[in-house]
C-alpha cells in the first residue's frame, strides 16, 4: 500500500469581485498521485501550475479564499480529514513535514536556532528540554552543519543561505517524519551550495527510509534526485512516471515542450515551438487545457477532456499520447 494517496483533489479560490459577484478560480482540477515508501517524487511545472498549492493542501495549510472543493488524501492508511480546517492534528509536523522555500523568511528571526529546533519537538510531543536540545545538536550534525554546538546559539541572520536551508531541513526531519515535502528547497541558492544541500537531503531520506516530495521547476533536480516525476499544467498532472522513462520518451506534448526548452536540448536541436500562456483559471475551457498551445490539437481536444492513459507505470493525460512521434 502506498504511503500517500491523493485522489481527485480539487482546490478552488472563491472570491467576490467589485460587482459582488462570486468568482471561482479552479486552481487544482483533479490531482491524483501516490507516493510509495522510500520513494522520492518530483513535482514539476511552471508558475501557477499548482505545485505549491498541492503541497499546502497535503499539509492542511490552505486558508480562505482557497478551499478544497473535492478530493481525498490518505496517508499511512488513514484519511486526512478536514483538509482545510487548520486544526492541529500532529500528523502534520511529525509524520508529514515541510521544508519551505526561502530559508530566511521561514525561520523565526527572534529565536536562536537551537530554540526553534527544541520548540519543533515540544510542540508535538512530550520531550524534556535537555533531550530536545541533545537531539537538536545531533540533527544539526546530520545535516552537516559545522560546529553544531555553537550553531545552536546562532540567530538566523548569522547564517548563510545554504546554512539556513540546512537548518530548515533539520527542523523538518527532527520529528522523524515518514514523508517530507520540499517546496523548491534550493531556489535562490548558488549552484555549488544547491548540489550539496540536495545531496544531504537525499542522504537523510535514504538513511531514515523516508519518502520525499520535491517541488521544483528545475528539470535537472528531477533528473538526478527523483525516482518518479509528476508534471503539472493548469492545476492537473498531465504526465507522470518513472524519471528515466519520462526523460527518454515524454508522452504529453507539454512535457515535450518543457524538455525541449532546456538549453542543452536547444543546443542540440535548435529552438522549438515555445511560448504561450496558461489558460484562465476563472474560465477553464472544456476539453484539453493544453490545446491552445499544442501543435497536435484536433477536434476531440476541444470537445472532450482527455483521460489518463497508462502504459506500465507511465501515464499521460492526452488523447494522442500513444500516437506521439518518438522524441
Amino acid at each position: 500500500m502506498s504511503l500517500l494517496t491523493v485522489e481527485d483533489l480539487h482546490v478552488h479560490f472563491v472570491t467576490r469581485g467589485l460587482d459582488n459577484r462570486v468568482r471561482v478560480a479552479r486552481a487544482l482540477n483533479g490531482v491524483s498521485f501516490e507516493i510509495e515508501e522510500g520513494e522520492v517524487l518530483g513535482v514539476v511545472g511552471e508558475t501557477g501550475a499548482g505545485k505549491s498549492l498541492t503541497a499546502l493542501a497535503l499539509l492542511g495549510m490552505l486558508r480562505p479564499p482557497a478551499v478544497v472543493a473535492a478530493g481525498r488524501i490518505r496517508f499511512e492508511g488513514r484519511e486526512l480529514a478536514a483538509l482545510d480546517s487548520g486544526a492541529p492534528d500532529h500528523i502534520r509536523g511529525t509524520r508529514l513535514t515541510l521544508i519551505p522555500q526561502s530559508p530566511h523568511t521561514s525561520l523565526d528571526p527572534l529565536s536562536r536556532i537551537g530554540e526553534q529546533l527544541v520548540r519543533m519537538q515540544r510542540e508535538h510531543g512530550r520531550v524534556s528540554r535537555a533531550d530536545a536540545l541533545r537531539r537538536a545538536r545531533g540533527m544539526l550534525d546530520e545535516v552537516h552543519i559545522p560546529a553544531p554546538e555553537q550553531r545552536l546559539k546562532a540567530w538566523p541572520h548569522q547564517l548563510s543561505g545554504g546554512m539556513a536551508q540546512r537548518v530548515l531541513i533539520a527542523m523538518a526531519l527532527i520529528n522523524r517524519p515518514r514523508l517530507v515535502i520540499a517546496d523548491e528547497p534550493t531556489t535562490g541558492l548558488d549552484v555549488t551550495v544547491q548540489a550539496a544541500v540536495l545531496d544531504t537531503l537525499r542522504e537523510l531520506v535514504r538513511a531514515h527510509a523516508m519518502s520525499a516530495l520535491i517541488i521544483t521547476h528545475d528539470l535537472g533536480i528531477v533528473a538526478h534526485y527523483c525516482d518518479r516525476v509528476a508534471v503539472m499544467f493548469a492545476g492537473s498532472i498531465i504526465e507522470q512516471g518513472p524519471t528515466r522513462a519520462v526523460f527518454r520518451g515524454q508522452r504529453h506534448p507539454y512535457t515535450r515542450a518543457l524538455v525541449a526548452s532546456t538549453p542543452k536540448r536547444i543546443a542540440e536541436r535548435g529552438y522549438g515551438q515555445v511560448g504561450g500562456t496558461p489558460p484562465d483559471l476563472y474560465a477553464l475551457p472544456a476539453g484539453c487545457l493544453y490545446r491552445d498551445r499544442c501543435a497536435m490539437a484536433a477536434e476531440i481536444c476541444v470537445t472532450t477532456p482527455p483521460v489518463v492513459r497508462f502504459e506500465h507505470a507511465h501515464a499521460a493525460r492526452c488523447h494522442f499520447s500513444a500516437q506521439l512521434p518518438p522524441p
Binding site: 511552471e46 508558475t47 559545522p146 548563510s160 543561505g161 545554504g162 546554512m163 548558488d190 549552484v191 555549488t192 551550495v193 544547491q194 548540489a195 550539496a196 521547476h217 528545475d218 528539470l219 535537472g220 533536480i221 528531477v222 533528473a223 538526478h224 524519471t243 528515466r244 526523460f247 515542450a257 518543457l258 524538455v259 525541449a260 526548452s261 532546456t262 538549453p263 542543452k264 536540448r265 536547444i266 543546443a267 529552438y271 522549438g272 515555445v274 511560448g275 504561450g276 500562456t277
Partner: protein, 324 residues
C-alpha cells in the same frame, strides 16, 4: 581594425560596510568585448558580476580602473556627456516587474527612449514603438496596457525592446531570464539570438545559469570574489575548465538528463567574507588543490592557448586538474 566595443581594465569597486570597513566587490578585473560578440560573465552570488555590469555602463562610480566604450575613454566622462552615449550602451535587468513604470502604458514605455535620444515626432515615435513591439513579438494590443496586465515574459520583452529602441552597440543583460519559467525563458533566448543575428549588437550576458551561458555566448569570463579566475572561448572553457573553481562550478550543474553521470567536485567550506579578503588566490581557502604558495600572492593569468587563460599557479605542475 576597429577597437573593441568595450575595453575595461583594472576595474576596482569597494563599497563602504560601516565602521571604516569595506566590501571588496571587484578587485582588478579586465574585460574586453569585441563588436558583435556575446560574452558571458558567470559566478555565484557575491562574485561581483552585477557590480561589473553597473560599472561598465557607468551606473555606479568606479573606485579605480578605466572603461573605454567604442574607442572612447568614458571613465570620467561627466553625466552630461555620458547621456548621448547611453543610446548605444544599454542594460536590461533581472526583474522586469521593477524595471517599468507601473503608471505608464507599454506603448509609452517603448517610446520613452526615443523621446530621450532621438528627435522623432510623436507620430513617428508611435510608429517605431509598434515596430519594436512586433520585433520582440509582443501582441500589439499590449501597447495600451499597463505593466501589471502583462506576464513576466512579456514584460521582459518590453525591457528588451526598450533597450533596442536606440539601436545600441552593446547591451548588458543582467540575469535576463532568471525570474522566468522554462518555456518563457526559451522564448527570450530565441529572441536574443534573433536580435544578435539581425543587428550585430554585442552582448554582455551576466548569469549564474551555466547552461544558458553555454548556449548563448561566444566567450565566458568566470568570476570568484571579484576576481577573474578563468576566461576563454565558451566551447573550450566548458570542455576543458582549467581553474579548480571553474571545475567545481561546472561539476555542480545538474543536466536535465538522468543518464548523465554526475562527477562532482566539492569545494571546502564557505565563501570567505569580501570584507576581509585573504591574500593570494581568493579560492585557496576552499580549493582541494591548494598548496601553501597559493596563499602568498595573487596568481597571474596563465595562457592556455586560443584566448583561454586561468589564474592558478598549479597549472605549472598539472596539480590544477581535480580528480574524482
Amino acid at each position: 581594425m576597429s577597437p573593441p566595443i568595450l575595453a575595461a581594465s583594472e576595474l576596482v569597486k569597494r563599497f563602504p560596510a560601516g565602521r571604516g570597513r569595506q566590501v571588496h566587490a571587484v578587485n582588478g578585473v579586465d574585460l574586453e568585448i569585441g563588436r558583435g560578440e556575446a560574452v558571458g560573465l558567470v559566478g555565484e552570488s557575491g562574485s561581483g558580476k552585477s557590480t561589473i555590469g553597473m560599472l561598465v555602463t557607468r551606473l555606479i562610480p568606479l573606485t579605480a580602473g578605466r572603461v573605454c566604450f567604442d574607442g572612447r575613454d568614458i571613465t570620467a566622462l561627466p553625466e552630461r556627456e555620458m547621456r548621448p552615449l547611453r543610446a548605444s550602451l544599454q542594460i536590461v535587468f533581472q526583474d522586469p516587474w521593477g524595471a517599468l513604470n507601473p503608471r505608464m502604458t507599454i506603448g509609452k514605455a517603448l517610446e520613452e527612449p526615443l523621446k530621450l535620444h532621438t528627435d522623432l515626432e510623436a507620430g513617428a515615435r508611435a510608429l517605431r514603438g509598434r515596430e519594436l513591439a512586433e520585433r520582440v513579438r509582443l501582441p500589439l494590443a499590449s501597447l495600451d496596457r499597463f505593466p501589471h496586465e502583462l506576464s513576466g515574459g512579456q514584460l521582459q520583452r518590453v525591457c528588451i525592446a526598450r533597450a533596442l529602441a536606440t539601436r545600441p552597440k552593446l547591451i548588458v543583460l543582467d540575469e535576463p531570464t532568471s525570474s522566468l519559467d522554462l518555456s518563457v525563458r526559451a522564448g527570450i533566448l530565441q529572441l536574443l539570438d534573433q536580435i544578435r543575428r539581425e543587428s550585430g549588437v554585442a552582448i554582455l550576458f551576466i548569469s549564474h545559469d551555466l547552461e544558458t551561458v553555454e548556449l548563448v555566448t561566444d566567450r565566458v569570463v568566470v568570476l570568484y570574489l571579484g576576481n577573474v579566475v578563468e576566461q576563454g572561448p565558451t566551447r573550450k572553457l566548458f570542455a576543458e575548465p582549467a581553474h579548480p573553481y571553474t571545475q567545481t562550478l561546472l561539476s555542480a550543474s545538474l543536466p536535465p538528463d538522468p543518464d548523465v553521470m554526475l562527477a562532482r567536485h566539492t569545494a571546502i567550506g564557505e565563501v570567505p567574507s569580501p570584507i576581509n579578503l585573504p591574500p593570494g588566490c581568493a579560492f585557496a581557502s576552499r580549493c582541494p588543490a591548494a598548496i601553501p604558495a597559493c596563499r602568498g600572492a595573487r596568481p597571474p593569468a596563465v595562457a592556455l592557448g586560443g584566448q583561454h587563460a586561468a589564474a592558478c599557479i598549479r597549472i605549472a605542475d598539472g596539480g590544477n586538474v581535480l580528480s574524482h
